[in-house]
Symmetry: C2
Subunit: 352 residues, 2 copies
């Protein structure tokens, strides 16, 4: 089965995810529409000249109202959270990064591309193991956390986040907190991790269902990090596209009911897929945020490939996310499709 | 005059360029409108989902029709030419880059950020000195050329470009050709530098006056470079914003008369500023493309600062571009403003 050797990244599924007979638990993007406010009244001919590298003032000001003790100067508007992370690690530029594992599949690459090195701490039941964290943090310049997490769907407890604030503050270690799923928590309000050493990355992609628009941002109270990141962005991409910034600012004006309504839809889907997979006898963590499950399966490569070729179900390999004994399913699809997908997985499991 | 110590980058002028009494020869962006085709009929609600990292197929296909012996696979759509360059140098990742001097001010930074080192070859009358080029090329992995050039406004002769093709092809050295001003040549048609080792970077910003939209592209016939750049972009920014790609594709459908009409306007402005500065006794090269002049002046820092504070004229320091005895003027403003600016420069020169 040499085809299995090609299972190196999600790109093997490119072009197939939208096909009729395919049920895709692959790509992690909302299938729901953005708020109507995001696109109403945009005049794209206004947005054609260079903007500030740091991002449009109005958008940064609006964000500062949502972050405690912030001003517009603490933010940079980026090409999605991806560029935010890339700028941060390039700005730090050397040393080791403590990375909880499983991790979002781009993290080790972004860290390596910036000339830094990943040190892994294995999650325990999908959550940070503070004992292991404490053992490894001393050799690191930074730690990268992601709560709610892609691919585990888990959130860290507020106690853990406060403990991380405390440890890293005392040791002067950067905390890079990727919070792109902060508005997709089922269990509690988001907790803004804080401190002089904290750098937050966020995005409009998931909260407002506008992934292709590519607008994210980073926040830091450390002016030297903000300045270095702006300097790098000046040379490597200049301003983030202005139409997208315009849409982001308008999306923020949507009523909070939009976000609540989204959360309710995601929670229903989460309940459906979690119960469905448990009923099939799979071992998995219950997602508390984001929209991913990461069940353990036997021989994941073979299983994923058979699911795809024989049952036309797309899933992602856990090994891309540092979880070699699992597969990842995104439940960003409607309940009817989730049910059909569960039926096919049932068949596949029965016919091993 | 300690204020002169702050003259470290164009950012000192941020927020001033649009003010009433200011004549700005600073920022390098067209003041002319984009073709109406660029923005007509766009439905931004169609462009909200993730796109291909490499860029939308239709846009890449349209570009391939303009490049000899190309297919859509040879292109990556990027966040402006800046990201194109950043991806290329990160994909190459080590070694030295031969860089003609004066240079676009981001080049040394992009090269350094990618972990590479710049080796300079001084331009002769604003053009590549092939003798010096030959002496220094052997220690280099790549050469970065920019014709028409920002900041010199000069173009390389077709003979020089063919000689560079020949040298680099024999020695297997990458040629990165930044051609963002290729449609702004006053003297001849653009010559597409070619070869297996050539990587071209381009943009819709200058040709179609849509800088803030941030859509550029890179072209290479070397599949391994294209693949590596896509891999890096997957982790560091994902797809380029889709509304911008949509606008770029529509702009390409504008009649060629749009580009010709723009060239005529730029040529008139070039004639005006070139003659004007010569008449003031300044020593400068005649621009053959782009929209910059780079006159030599005495004590450039003091002169630039006095021009700005006393005469409200913005210019950029040559030293930001590797030309410490010069200042750069962009003539992306209408003839009336160019004339007013020339009058003020005249006064400033007389009152030294």
């Amino acid at each position: 089965m040499s085809e299995l050797d090609n299972l190196t990244s999600p790109s093997i599924f490119i072009g197939r995810q939208g096909e009729d007979d395919i049920i895709s638990f692959g790509s992690g993007q909302p299938d729901l529409p953005p708020p109507k406010e995001a696109t109403e009244g945009i005049n794209i001919r206004q947005d054609l000249r260079y903007g500030l590298i740091q991002g449009e003032y109005e958008l940064r000001y609006a964000l500062s109202r949502e972050y405690p003790r912030s001003t517009a100067e603490n933010f940079i508007i980026t090409n999605g959270a991806s560029e935010g992370l890339d700028l941060i690690f390039r700005a730090i530029g050397k040393g080791k990064v403590l990375l909880p594992k499983p991790y979002y599949y781009s993290y080790p690459h972004i860290i390596r591309l910036a000339g830094m090195e990943s040190v892994y701490t294995e999650l325990n039941e999908g959550r940070i193991d503070l004992d292991d964290f404490r053992k490894k943090i001393d050799e690191c310049t930074a730690v990268l956390i992601n709560s709610p997490s892609n691919p585990t769907g888990r959130i860290e407890s507020i106690e853990t986040l406060k403990e991380i604030e405390d440890i890293t503050s005392r040791k002067k270690i950067y905390v890079i907190s990727d919070e792109v799923y902060k508005d997709l928590i089922y269990e509690r309000e988001n907790y803004h991790i804080q401190g002089d050493q904290v750098i937050t990355v966020n995005s409009f992609s998931k909260t407002y269902a506008m992934c292709g628009v590519r607008v994210g941002y980073l926040w830091s109270s450390d002016q030297s990090i903000v300045d270095k990141a702006i300097e790098i962005k000046t040379h490597t991409s200049m301003n983030t596209n202005l139409v997208g910034q315009d849409m982001a600012l308008r999306a923020m004006k949507a009523p909070k009911e939009y976000i609540v309504a989204q959360q309710n839809i995601w929670r229903e889907r989460r309940d459906l897929i979690y119960k469905g997979l448990c009923d099939l006898g799979l071992d998995l963590w219950k997602p508390e945020g984001a929209f991913y499950v990461l069940p353990r399966v036997d021989r994941p490569r073979e299983f994923l490939w058979r699911l795809y070729k024989k049952y036309h179900v797309i899933t992602y390999l856990g090994e891309w996310f540092g979880a070699p004994d699992r597969i990842r399913l995104s439940y960003a699809l409607d309940k009817k499709d989730i049910e059909e997908g569960l039926n096919r997985i049932d068949l596949a499991l029965k016919n091993i």
